[in-house]
């Protein structure tokens, strides 16, 4: 089940980055985020994308885990971007839930 955690983790990372992309800021935020928030979200986003390697590693070990990590980035990206076109705020907010779920799945496992 580790790979489920990897999926949620990468989704959360993409959601954080998506929220601060210039084009998306007016769609996601009612008031524009402060530079501090933008920076925090950028760091958190890349960090979560990188962290999603760990559950892949736990599931598959290094070589297979790395292959799975790359494909998982693609899959979770699709899971964000296409729904984002229909419900931008919800898709980004789901990123927060996804981050919690990622931890939860790791703990339950």
């Amino acid at each position: 089940m580790y790979f489920v955690s990897a999926f949620f983790c990468a989704y959360a990372g993409f959601a954080a980055l998506c929220a601060i992309t210039t084009r998306n800021v007016p769609v996601v935020w009612t008031t524009p985020p402060s530079p501090g928030v933008v920076k925090a979200l950028r760091v958190a986003g890349f960090l979560l994308l990188a962290l999603s390697w760990i559950p892949c590693y736990l599931n598959w070990d290094v070589p297979m885990g790395t292959a799975a990590w790359l494909m998982n980035l693609s899959a979770s990206g699709f899971a964000l971007i296409f729904p984002f076109a229909y419900a931008p705020k919800r898709s980004v907010q789901a990123g927060g839930v996804a981050a919690l779920l990622a931890v939860l799945v790791l703990l339950v496992r």
Binding site: T21, R23, W60, A68, F78
Partner: protein
């Protein structure tokens, strides 16, 4: 005027993408389905559905008991172990009193039931994916497929497309999360979808195409081509280990099990042998998962037992091949494992391992499937975009005719191959099992379409006929119908076929999804439900196509040719 680098790359991307995209779509679609080809094979063989499997050691013992009963005096027994997780079929080979190869395919539940269905199953997608199911005799009458050259060329073009695509993509990072579904210009929507799919799946796409081209790279040079021409055994079920449908390719074991160094020894005098099940456990402890074993001179004083590992294993990416041999009387190890392979072969094994996706279990294959599907859809969006962009730009009647032809070809190559694949699944389910090849079928390296009189055609032939006939009908339909209607109708027909997959299971014994859920055969259920979900998505696509401007008739939009100032 001198063109910029980006413009040149754009030209390359557009025209390589268009001409080879028609073929690339078919290759990508079948390749994506081929990720689960063993599950589809299982789905296509009703005898295996819902069977309660024996454990691996029990299967070994059962195989030996079976062979002891049917061929106690045989010079050689071979056992190909079932792949319990994906395609649980047990294949037993033995030499009869005339030293001719005999085989039986069994359900590994201990009942002795045979798998009588001979089908291309999911294997079809694997073969189509690189040979288009075409085999041609060369001048010496040997089978020589030239079509793998074509698929290799498409692969190279795809690599060019993936690199030029990155070069010409404006603002990759700024538009990383951009999919403007409401954009006024339809082309923008298609472009966004194309970009999102291509950029996000880029690492996968590059890796899968590179590994696909690279692991057969020796086939693209003359000496390799000569090897390929000799490769498929023309005779049926004669070479040791080469005949018998199913398990050989199932584990990608090639023919190493049946081939024992030194040829076939003369049988010695009768003598008790050590229990092979114990040797099996020993070999498995040393080498990992085994694909099978061969016993030379069973029940004799010169008996030897050779165990072989699976070529493709779930625990490592690279393909492997190893074996160890025991003395059948004393149980002594004659040759330990430790096969060394040449550097080139090792490299080829790694590329093959990456490409074939046997490693990592179902979750990994699901990722391969999703990313492959993304690539497939990306190609389709690219093709559609070509038409959408140009249909209003035709500068002459000839150009307008060309663009209309392109649009029809898009329908034939995208809608047509989807329809053909869905029809093929129906053929797998509905063609009578009694049409199966009574000889058990031949499983050469290429399962290719044959031209035989209709009354001689066996089930495997008919399955392929259905596929090609469906594609032919779809092509004709695409050429005569207004493109927008053709899109809608072909997508809707494919959707209906896919959604209907679980339903037609009820027409054939042992294939209904209800009792398979009850029996816990999730492999079979997953293929049914997966087909149904794909059908629902295609239905959505058909609905969108019916109302959108995907295929407005070009002729209506093109006015008198607009001459540029220079003219």
């Amino acid at each position: 005027m001198e063109k910029s680098f980006t413009q040149r790359m754009s030209w390359l991307h557009t025209w390589f993408g268009l001409v080879l995209g028609w073929l690339a779509f078919a290759l990508f679609l079948t390749g994506t389905l081929a990720v689960f080809w063993l599950e589809i094979q299982h789905w296509a063989e009703p005898e295996l559905h819902g069977a309660k499997m024996l454990s691996a050691p029990a299967t070994v013992q059962y195989s030996l008991d079976y062979l002891q009963k049917v061929a106690p005096d045989s010079k050689r027994w071979s056992v190909y172990m079932p792949d319990f997780n994906r395609h649980p079929m047990l294949l037993l080979h033995w030499l009869d009193e005339n030293d001719a190869q005999q085989f039986v395919r069994l359900v590994p539940d201990g009942s002795g039931r045979e798998v009588k269905t001979v089908t291309n199953g999911g294997r079809f997608f694997v073969d189509f994916h690189w040979t288009f199911n075409r085999a041609m005799p060369d001048l010496q009458g040997r089978t020589f497929t030239w079509t793998y050259m074509l698929s290799g060329f498409v692969g190279l073009a795809f690599l060019i497309g993936s690199i030029t695509g990155l070069v010409i993509h404006k603002k990759i990072f700024r538009n990383f999360f951009t999919f403007r579904r409401d954009a006024k210009v339809p082309q923008t929507r298609w472009l966004d979808a194309h970009n999102v799919l291509g950029v996000l799946a880029w690492p996968f796409l590059f890796m899968i195409v590179l590994s696909g081209v690279a692991f057969y790279c020796y086939l693209y040079i003359p000496s390799g081509m000569q090897m390929a021409a000799r490769y498929p055994a023309p005779a049926r079920v004669t070479a040791p280990g080469a005949g018998g449908p199913g398990m050989i390719w199932a584990r990608v074991v090639t023919d190493t099990i049946g081939l024992v160094p030194g040829g076939l020894p003369e049988p010695g005098s009768p003598a008790p042998n050590v229990p092979v099940a114990d040797l099996f456990a020993q070999a498995q402890a040393q080498m990992g998962e085994l694909s099978g074993f061969t016993i030379n001179s069973p029940n004799r004083d010169n008996a030897t037992v050779r165990f072989t590992t699976a070529r493709a294993r779930p625990d490592v990416i690279t393909f492997t091949s190893d074996s160890m041999t025991f003395d059948g009387v004393t149980g002594r190890v004659i040759s330990p494992p430790g096969n060394t392979v040449e550097a080139v072969q090792r490299l080829s094994n790694i590329f093959a391992g990456i490409h074939f996706a046997f490693y990592g279990g179902t979750a990994m294959r699901l990722l391969y499937f999703l990313c492959g599907a993304a690539g497939t859809i990306m190609i389709a969006t690219g093709l559609v975009m070509f038409s959408t962009k140009r249909r209003t730009m035709a500068h002459s009647p000839a150009a307008a005719r060309f663009y209309e032809f392109v649009e029809r070809m898009n329908v034939a190559s995208v809608g047509g191959v989807l329809f053909a694949c869905a029809s093929y699944f129906w053929a797998l389910r509905l063609l009578p099992l009694s049409l199966s090849d009574p000889s058990g079928g031949s499983w050469d390296v290429y399962a290719s379409i044959r031209a035989v009189p209709f009354e001689q055609a066996v089930r495997t032939d008919l399955e392929l006929y259905v596929f090609w006939l469906a594609w032919g009908v779809a092509t004709v339909h695409a050429l005569v119908r207004v493109p927008q209607k053709a899109w809608t109708e072909q997508l809707a027909a494919t959707a209906a076929l896919c959604v209907g997959l679980p339903a037609i299971g009820y027409l054939v014994p042992n294939c209904d999804i209800g009792s398979m859920i009850a029996a816990g055969d999730w492999k079979m259920v997953a293929v049914d439900l997966g087909g149904m979900s794909i059908g629902l998505m295609l239905g959505f696509a058909a609905w969108k196509a019916s109302g959108s401007r995907v295929g407005v008739r070009i002729g209506k939009l093109v006015g008198p040719p607009v001459l540029s100032p220079a003219e």
